[in-house]
């Protein structure tokens, strides 16, 4: 009986560390997205400050390609929209993982208690 519980605990622990790993990845992903959003915000502000006839270039590989200012603005806006969506998605993911962690934790505690009771009764 005790062995069975221990086996179960082992399994839960493995699951826990797996979820924890996933959680860490998700959090760093969100951080990266946040910094990308911030950078895009700064670029957008800068583009808005430019004069209408200012030349804008986009770095594509090693070359600068001239771009229309309006087009650049639209591009940045689109990218910000996309990043914001991604952030929301990642946040949902993080929340789900947190819940999973909590569930495993309660399971583990239950198993631990079971094991403790078993030892006492033995």
């Amino acid at each position: 009986m005790a062995e069975e519980i221990q086996k179960k605990m082992q399994k839960e622990l493995e699951m826990f560390s797996g979820v924890q790993k996933e959680y860490k990845i998700a959090v760093s992903q969100k951080q990266q997205l946040d910094s990308q959003l911030n950078e895009n915000k700064a670029v957008k502000e800068e583009l808005l400050l430019l004069k209408k006839d200012a030349e804008v270039y986009k770095l594509i590989g090693p070359v600068l390609v001239k771009q229309d200012l309006e087009e650049a603005k639209q591009n940045v806006n689109k990218r910000m929209e996309y990043i914001t969506k991604e952030i929301r998605r990642t946040e949902g993911h993080i929340l789900a993982l947190e819940n999973k962690q909590d569930a495993i934790q309660t399971n583990l505690n239950k198993l631990k208690n079971n094991l403790g009771n078993l030892k006492i009764s033995v």
């Binding site: 800068e46 583009l47 430019l50 030349e55």
Partner: protein, 154 residues
Amino acid sequence: MAPAPGMQQIDLSKLNLPQLAQLKQQVDHDLQVFQESLQALKIAQGKFVDSGETVEKLTPATKGKTILVPLTSSMYVSGTIADTDNVIIDIGTGYYAQKDIEGAKDYFKRKVQFVTEQMEKIQVLGIEKTKVKDAICMMMEMKIQAQSEPQKVS
């Protein structure tokens, strides 16, 4: 018990030693992140200041003067400055914008200011965190002493 983000009221005296140790670890980690951020910001600030100073040197008098243009970090070709009125600035995410000298000066000034503000913010947060850390350390010492004393008596 969980290390929640932001400021949170926790009565340190109610925590036990392992909890305090965990909290201290968390705070240490936060402080380290602050340090790293400060360092990164300092580098960014240096770059903007550098660029700002370089823009100052680009006056109409430098028009037509020869310079060495770096093709790589160790190879140069000679060139002449054809346009002393406009510069092209990397504004981030792969976009480069043409600005006149005044605009460029203003850009770097704003960037330096922005970065400096961020650094000040982090410094304030760092000081707060250090205070929290000191409080945790003190509490840990007290708990350790309290734990060892009854053992001496018995």
